[in-house]
Symmetry: C2
Protein backbone atom coordinates (compact mmCIF):
# COMPACT_ATOMS: atom_id res chain seq x y z
CA UNK A 1 0.00 0.00 0.00
CA UNK A 2 1.34 3.33 -1.02
CA UNK A 3 -0.06 6.38 0.69
CA UNK A 4 -0.24 9.79 -0.89
CA UNK A 5 2.32 11.42 1.35
CA UNK A 6 4.75 8.61 0.59
CA UNK A 7 4.61 9.13 -3.14
CA UNK A 8 4.84 12.88 -2.64
CA UNK A 9 7.99 12.48 -0.57
CA UNK A 10 9.42 10.08 -3.13
CA UNK A 11 8.77 12.54 -5.93
CA UNK A 12 10.46 15.29 -4.01
CA UNK A 13 13.49 13.08 -3.49
CA UNK A 14 13.58 12.19 -7.16
CA UNK A 15 13.39 15.86 -8.12
CA UNK A 16 16.30 16.87 -5.91
CA UNK A 17 18.36 13.92 -7.09
CA UNK A 18 17.64 14.65 -10.72
CA UNK A 19 18.56 18.31 -10.30
CA UNK A 20 21.84 17.36 -8.66
CA UNK A 21 22.67 14.84 -11.36
CA UNK A 22 21.94 17.33 -14.13
CA UNK A 23 24.02 19.95 -12.36
CA UNK A 24 26.99 17.65 -12.08
CA UNK A 25 26.71 16.45 -15.64
CA UNK A 26 26.14 19.67 -17.51
CA UNK A 27 26.44 22.65 -15.21
CA UNK A 28 23.77 25.14 -14.18
CA UNK A 29 22.40 25.62 -17.69
CA UNK A 30 21.62 21.94 -17.97
CA UNK A 31 19.25 22.10 -15.02
CA UNK A 32 15.90 22.83 -16.62
CA UNK A 33 12.65 22.10 -14.86
CA UNK A 34 11.49 20.14 -17.88
CA UNK A 35 14.47 17.80 -17.79
CA UNK A 36 14.37 17.53 -14.03
CA UNK A 37 10.75 16.51 -14.25
CA UNK A 38 11.43 14.01 -16.99
CA UNK A 39 14.21 12.34 -15.01
CA UNK A 40 12.00 12.20 -11.96
CA UNK A 41 9.26 10.55 -13.98
CA UNK A 42 6.88 13.48 -13.76
CA UNK A 43 6.17 16.31 -16.09
CA UNK A 44 7.45 19.80 -16.48
CA UNK A 45 5.57 21.78 -13.87
CA UNK A 46 5.17 19.07 -11.26
CA UNK A 47 8.10 20.55 -9.29
CA UNK A 48 5.84 23.46 -8.40
CA UNK A 49 3.92 21.16 -6.08
CA UNK A 50 7.10 20.72 -4.02
CA UNK A 51 9.07 23.93 -4.49
CA UNK A 52 8.05 27.54 -4.90
CA UNK A 53 10.21 27.95 -7.97
CA UNK A 54 13.41 26.76 -9.61
CA UNK A 55 15.54 28.69 -7.15
CA UNK A 56 13.97 26.88 -4.23
CA UNK A 57 14.70 23.53 -5.82
CA UNK A 58 18.35 24.49 -6.24
CA UNK A 59 18.40 25.72 -2.66
CA UNK A 60 17.30 22.25 -1.58
CA UNK A 61 20.17 20.72 -3.56
CA UNK A 62 22.63 23.10 -1.91
CA UNK A 63 21.20 22.41 1.54
CA UNK A 64 21.67 18.67 1.11
CA UNK A 65 25.25 19.20 -0.01
CA UNK A 66 25.95 21.23 3.10
CA UNK A 67 24.45 18.50 5.22
CA UNK A 68 26.76 15.94 3.68
CA UNK A 69 29.77 18.12 4.42
CA UNK A 70 28.47 18.45 7.95
CA UNK A 71 28.23 14.69 8.30
CA UNK A 72 31.83 14.31 7.15
CA UNK A 73 33.02 16.87 9.67
CA UNK A 74 30.97 15.19 12.37
CA UNK A 75 32.83 11.97 11.71
CA UNK A 76 36.11 13.84 12.06
CA UNK A 77 35.03 15.36 15.37
CA UNK A 78 33.76 12.05 16.72
CA UNK A 79 37.09 10.31 16.18
CA UNK A 80 39.64 10.40 18.99
CA UNK A 81 42.06 12.45 16.88
CA UNK A 82 45.50 11.78 18.21
CA UNK A 83 46.83 14.61 16.07
CA UNK A 84 44.39 17.52 15.91
CA UNK A 85 46.18 19.16 13.01
CA UNK A 86 45.66 16.01 10.99
CA UNK A 87 41.92 16.29 11.49
CA UNK A 88 42.10 19.94 10.48
CA UNK A 89 44.05 19.01 7.39
CA UNK A 90 41.43 16.45 6.45
CA UNK A 91 38.65 18.94 6.98
CA UNK A 92 40.26 21.54 4.75
CA UNK A 93 41.13 19.03 2.06
CA UNK A 94 37.54 17.82 2.12
CA UNK A 95 36.55 21.19 0.70
CA UNK A 96 39.18 20.98 -2.01
CA UNK A 97 38.03 17.47 -2.79
CA UNK A 98 34.35 18.25 -3.24
CA UNK A 99 35.25 21.24 -5.34
CA UNK A 100 37.26 19.07 -7.68
CA UNK A 101 34.83 16.21 -7.98
CA UNK A 102 31.63 18.24 -8.14
CA UNK A 103 32.60 21.79 -9.14
CA UNK A 104 29.13 22.89 -10.19
CA UNK A 105 27.62 21.73 -6.93
CA UNK A 106 30.42 23.46 -5.05
CA UNK A 107 29.67 26.71 -6.83
CA UNK A 108 26.00 26.36 -6.02
CA UNK A 109 26.80 25.99 -2.33
CA UNK A 110 28.43 29.42 -2.42
CA UNK A 111 26.06 31.04 -4.88
CA UNK A 112 24.68 34.50 -4.39
CA UNK A 113 22.34 34.68 -1.42
CA UNK A 114 18.72 34.15 -2.44
CA UNK A 115 15.86 36.38 -1.46
CA UNK A 116 15.46 34.29 1.68
CA UNK A 117 18.89 32.84 2.41
CA UNK A 118 17.92 31.36 5.76
CA UNK A 119 17.55 27.79 4.50
CA UNK A 120 21.00 27.43 3.03
CA UNK A 121 22.72 29.51 5.68
CA UNK A 122 21.28 27.44 8.47
CA UNK A 123 22.72 24.27 6.98
CA UNK A 124 26.06 25.99 6.51
CA UNK A 125 26.00 27.15 10.11
CA UNK A 126 26.08 23.64 11.51
CA UNK A 127 29.00 22.87 9.25
CA UNK A 128 30.92 25.86 10.50
CA UNK A 129 30.16 25.02 14.12
CA UNK A 130 31.77 21.64 13.66
CA UNK A 131 34.68 23.21 11.85
CA UNK A 132 35.14 25.56 14.77
CA UNK A 133 35.57 22.57 17.07
CA UNK A 134 38.23 21.07 14.86
CA UNK A 135 40.14 24.33 14.75
CA UNK A 136 39.90 24.79 18.50
CA UNK A 137 41.63 21.45 19.00
CA UNK A 138 44.62 22.85 17.13
CA UNK A 139 45.03 26.49 18.08
CA UNK A 140 43.10 26.43 21.36
CA UNK A 141 39.64 27.61 22.29
CA UNK A 142 40.53 31.27 22.51
CA UNK A 143 42.11 31.74 19.11
CA UNK A 144 39.76 29.37 17.32
CA UNK A 145 37.29 32.05 16.38
CA UNK A 146 39.64 34.27 14.47
CA UNK A 147 41.78 31.52 12.98
CA UNK A 148 38.69 29.53 12.08
CA UNK A 149 37.44 32.30 9.85
CA UNK A 150 40.81 32.57 8.18
CA UNK A 151 41.19 28.84 7.66
CA UNK A 152 37.72 28.45 6.24
CA UNK A 153 38.21 31.41 3.93
CA UNK A 154 41.57 30.22 2.72
CA UNK A 155 40.45 26.69 2.02
CA UNK A 156 37.44 28.00 0.16
CA UNK A 157 39.61 30.45 -1.75
CA UNK A 158 42.03 27.75 -2.81
CA UNK A 159 39.20 25.51 -3.94
CA UNK A 160 37.24 28.18 -5.73
CA UNK A 161 40.30 29.58 -7.45
CA UNK A 162 41.31 26.14 -8.58
CA UNK A 163 37.97 25.22 -10.14
CA UNK A 164 37.86 28.66 -11.75
CA UNK A 165 41.13 28.07 -13.55
CA UNK A 166 42.67 31.03 -11.77
CA UNK A 167 45.10 29.15 -9.59
CA UNK A 168 47.83 29.12 -12.20
CA UNK A 169 50.16 26.34 -11.18
CA UNK A 170 52.96 27.45 -13.46
CA UNK A 171 52.95 30.76 -11.63
CA UNK A 172 52.47 29.76 -8.02
CA UNK A 173 53.94 26.30 -8.24
CA UNK A 174 51.50 25.08 -5.67
CA UNK A 175 48.63 22.64 -5.69
CA UNK A 176 45.65 22.92 -3.40
CA UNK A 177 47.13 20.38 -1.03
CA UNK A 178 50.43 22.25 -0.79
CA UNK A 179 48.69 25.52 -0.03
CA UNK A 180 46.64 23.89 2.70
CA UNK A 181 49.76 22.40 4.26
CA UNK A 182 51.55 25.72 4.03
CA UNK A 183 48.68 27.43 5.81
CA UNK A 184 48.52 24.87 8.58
CA UNK A 185 52.26 25.24 9.07
CA UNK A 186 51.80 28.93 9.77
CA UNK A 187 49.37 28.33 12.62
CA UNK A 188 50.50 28.86 16.20
CA UNK A 189 50.12 25.44 17.82
CA UNK A 190 48.49 25.40 21.18
Amino acid sequence: MVTRVETAAATRRALVDAAGALLDAGGPDAVTLREVGARAGVSRSAPYRHFADKESLLAAVATEAWSEVGDALEALVAEPAARPEQALRQALLAMVEIGRTRPHLYRLMFAAPAADPTVVVRAAERTQDLFLEIVAAVVGQGAARQYGGLLLSSAHGVTHLEISGHLLEHKWQATGEQLVDLLIGLLPMD
Copy 2:
Protein backbone atom coordinates in the same frame (compact mmCIF):
# COMPACT_ATOMS: atom_id res chain seq x y z
CA MET B 1 33.86 63.42 -39.52
CA VAL B 2 32.98 60.08 -38.05
CA THR B 3 34.46 57.04 -39.68
CA ARG B 4 32.84 53.67 -39.64
CA VAL B 5 35.41 52.04 -37.37
CA GLU B 6 34.95 54.85 -34.88
CA THR B 7 31.23 54.33 -34.52
CA ALA B 8 31.78 50.60 -34.35
CA ALA B 9 34.27 51.04 -31.52
CA ALA B 10 31.90 53.41 -29.77
CA THR B 11 29.08 50.92 -30.00
CA ARG B 12 31.26 48.19 -28.60
CA ARG B 13 32.16 50.42 -25.69
CA ALA B 14 28.54 51.27 -25.05
CA LEU B 15 27.62 47.60 -25.10
CA VAL B 16 30.26 46.63 -22.55
CA ASP B 17 29.36 49.57 -20.34
CA ALA B 18 25.66 48.77 -20.51
CA ALA B 19 26.29 45.13 -19.66
CA GLY B 20 28.40 46.14 -16.67
CA ALA B 21 25.82 48.61 -15.44
CA LEU B 22 23.02 46.07 -15.73
CA LEU B 23 25.12 43.50 -13.93
CA ASP B 24 25.82 45.83 -11.04
CA ALA B 25 22.23 46.96 -10.79
CA GLY B 26 20.35 43.70 -11.08
CA GLY B 27 22.71 40.77 -11.09
CA PRO B 28 23.39 38.27 -13.88
CA ASP B 29 19.73 37.68 -14.70
CA ALA B 30 19.25 41.37 -15.46
CA VAL B 31 21.82 41.25 -18.24
CA THR B 32 19.74 40.47 -21.30
CA LEU B 33 20.96 41.21 -24.79
CA ARG B 34 17.76 43.09 -25.48
CA GLU B 35 18.24 45.46 -22.56
CA VAL B 36 21.96 45.80 -23.22
CA GLY B 37 21.20 46.81 -26.78
CA ALA B 38 18.53 49.25 -25.70
CA ARG B 39 20.88 50.99 -23.26
CA ALA B 40 23.57 51.16 -25.91
CA GLY B 41 21.13 52.75 -28.30
CA VAL B 42 21.04 49.83 -30.69
CA SER B 43 18.69 46.93 -31.04
CA ARG B 44 18.55 43.42 -29.75
CA SER B 45 20.88 41.52 -31.99
CA ALA B 46 23.37 44.26 -32.73
CA PRO B 47 25.76 42.82 -30.12
CA TYR B 48 26.36 39.91 -32.47
CA ARG B 49 28.35 42.25 -34.73
CA HIS B 50 30.84 42.73 -31.88
CA PHE B 51 30.70 39.55 -29.87
CA ALA B 52 30.19 35.93 -30.80
CA ASP B 53 27.49 35.48 -28.20
CA LYS B 54 26.32 36.65 -24.80
CA GLU B 55 29.11 34.77 -23.07
CA SER B 56 31.74 36.63 -25.07
CA LEU B 57 30.21 39.96 -24.11
CA LEU B 58 30.38 39.01 -20.46
CA ALA B 59 33.95 37.84 -20.95
CA ALA B 60 34.79 41.32 -22.22
CA VAL B 61 33.25 42.83 -19.09
CA ALA B 62 35.30 40.50 -16.91
CA THR B 63 38.46 41.24 -18.86
CA GLU B 64 38.07 44.96 -18.33
CA ALA B 65 37.53 44.45 -14.65
CA TRP B 66 40.75 42.44 -14.43
CA SER B 67 42.56 45.19 -16.26
CA GLU B 68 41.37 47.75 -13.75
CA VAL B 69 42.60 45.61 -10.89
CA GLY B 70 45.88 45.31 -12.74
CA ASP B 71 46.15 49.08 -13.04
CA ALA B 72 45.56 49.47 -9.33
CA LEU B 73 48.29 46.95 -8.54
CA GLU B 74 50.61 48.63 -11.00
CA ALA B 75 50.23 51.87 -9.07
CA LEU B 76 51.12 50.03 -5.90
CA VAL B 77 54.23 48.55 -7.48
CA ALA B 78 55.32 51.86 -8.98
CA GLU B 79 55.32 53.60 -5.61
CA PRO B 80 58.52 53.54 -3.54
CA ALA B 81 56.80 51.52 -0.80
CA ALA B 82 58.67 52.24 2.39
CA ARG B 83 56.80 49.38 4.05
CA PRO B 84 56.27 46.47 1.68
CA GLU B 85 53.73 44.80 3.91
CA GLN B 86 51.58 47.91 3.71
CA ALA B 87 51.49 47.62 -0.05
CA LEU B 88 50.56 43.97 0.31
CA ARG B 89 47.80 44.87 2.71
CA GLN B 90 46.43 47.40 0.26
CA ALA B 91 46.54 44.89 -2.56
CA LEU B 92 44.62 42.29 -0.59
CA LEU B 93 42.09 44.78 0.66
CA ALA B 94 41.54 45.96 -2.89
CA MET B 95 40.02 42.57 -3.63
CA VAL B 96 37.76 42.77 -0.59
CA GLU B 97 36.77 46.26 -1.62
CA ILE B 98 35.74 45.45 -5.18
CA GLY B 99 33.86 42.43 -3.94
CA ARG B 100 31.83 44.59 -1.60
CA THR B 101 31.09 47.42 -3.98
CA ARG B 102 30.45 45.34 -7.09
CA PRO B 103 29.68 41.81 -5.96
CA HIS B 104 28.12 40.64 -9.21
CA LEU B 105 31.08 41.84 -11.21
CA TYR B 106 33.41 40.16 -8.75
CA ARG B 107 31.57 36.88 -9.18
CA LEU B 108 31.79 37.21 -12.93
CA MET B 109 35.57 37.61 -12.71
CA PHE B 110 35.78 34.21 -11.08
CA ALA B 111 33.01 32.55 -13.02
CA ALA B 112 33.31 29.08 -14.44
CA PRO B 113 35.88 28.91 -17.21
CA ALA B 114 34.31 29.42 -20.62
CA ALA B 115 34.84 27.17 -23.60
CA ASP B 116 37.86 29.27 -24.54
CA PRO B 117 39.09 30.77 -21.28
CA THR B 118 42.23 32.30 -22.74
CA VAL B 119 40.89 35.86 -22.92
CA VAL B 120 39.98 36.22 -19.29
CA VAL B 121 42.88 34.18 -17.99
CA ARG B 122 45.40 36.28 -19.86
CA ALA B 123 44.12 39.46 -18.23
CA ALA B 124 44.18 37.74 -14.86
CA GLU B 125 47.74 36.60 -15.47
CA ARG B 126 49.09 40.12 -15.65
CA THR B 127 47.31 40.91 -12.40
CA GLN B 128 48.87 37.95 -10.70
CA ASP B 129 52.33 38.81 -12.01
CA LEU B 130 52.09 42.21 -10.38
CA PHE B 131 50.77 40.63 -7.22
CA LEU B 132 53.76 38.33 -7.21
CA GLU B 133 56.08 41.35 -7.16
CA ILE B 134 54.29 42.84 -4.20
CA VAL B 135 54.51 39.61 -2.28
CA ALA B 136 58.20 39.19 -3.11
CA ALA B 137 58.92 42.54 -1.49
CA VAL B 138 57.56 41.17 1.75
CA VAL B 139 58.61 37.54 2.04
CA GLY B 140 61.53 37.59 -0.38
CA GLN B 141 61.92 36.38 -3.92
CA GLY B 142 62.32 32.73 -3.06
CA ALA B 143 59.22 32.26 -0.94
CA ALA B 144 57.06 34.59 -3.00
CA ARG B 145 55.76 31.88 -5.28
CA GLN B 146 54.27 29.65 -2.64
CA TYR B 147 53.10 32.41 -0.32
CA GLY B 148 51.71 34.36 -3.24
CA GLY B 149 49.33 31.56 -4.10
CA LEU B 150 48.23 31.30 -0.50
CA LEU B 151 47.72 35.04 -0.07
CA LEU B 152 45.78 35.37 -3.28
CA SER B 153 43.61 32.39 -2.42
CA SER B 154 42.93 33.60 1.09
CA ALA B 155 42.01 37.13 0.07
CA HIS B 156 39.71 35.75 -2.59
CA GLY B 157 38.21 33.31 -0.13
CA VAL B 158 37.52 36.04 2.40
CA THR B 159 35.92 38.22 -0.24
CA HIS B 160 33.87 35.50 -1.86
CA LEU B 161 32.67 34.13 1.45
CA GLU B 162 31.66 37.58 2.57
CA ILE B 163 29.60 38.42 -0.47
CA SER B 164 28.02 34.98 -0.31
CA GLY B 165 26.77 35.61 3.19
CA HIS B 166 28.79 32.68 4.48
CA LEU B 167 31.31 34.62 6.52
CA LEU B 168 29.17 34.65 9.63
CA GLU B 169 30.53 37.45 11.74
CA HIS B 170 28.73 36.35 14.87
CA LYS B 171 30.56 33.06 14.60
CA TRP B 172 34.03 34.10 13.54
CA GLN B 173 34.02 37.57 15.01
CA ALA B 174 36.17 38.79 12.18
CA THR B 175 35.67 41.20 9.32
CA GLY B 176 37.46 40.89 6.01
CA GLU B 177 40.00 43.46 7.09
CA GLN B 178 40.79 41.64 10.31
CA LEU B 179 41.29 38.36 8.50
CA VAL B 180 43.66 39.99 6.02
CA ASP B 181 45.67 41.53 8.86
CA LEU B 182 45.75 38.22 10.68
CA LEU B 183 47.08 36.49 7.60
CA ILE B 184 49.78 39.08 6.97
CA GLY B 185 50.87 38.78 10.57
CA LEU B 186 51.51 35.07 10.05
CA LEU B 187 53.91 35.67 7.20
CA PRO B 188 57.64 35.18 7.76
CA MET B 189 59.11 38.60 7.10
CA ASP B 190 62.21 38.67 4.95
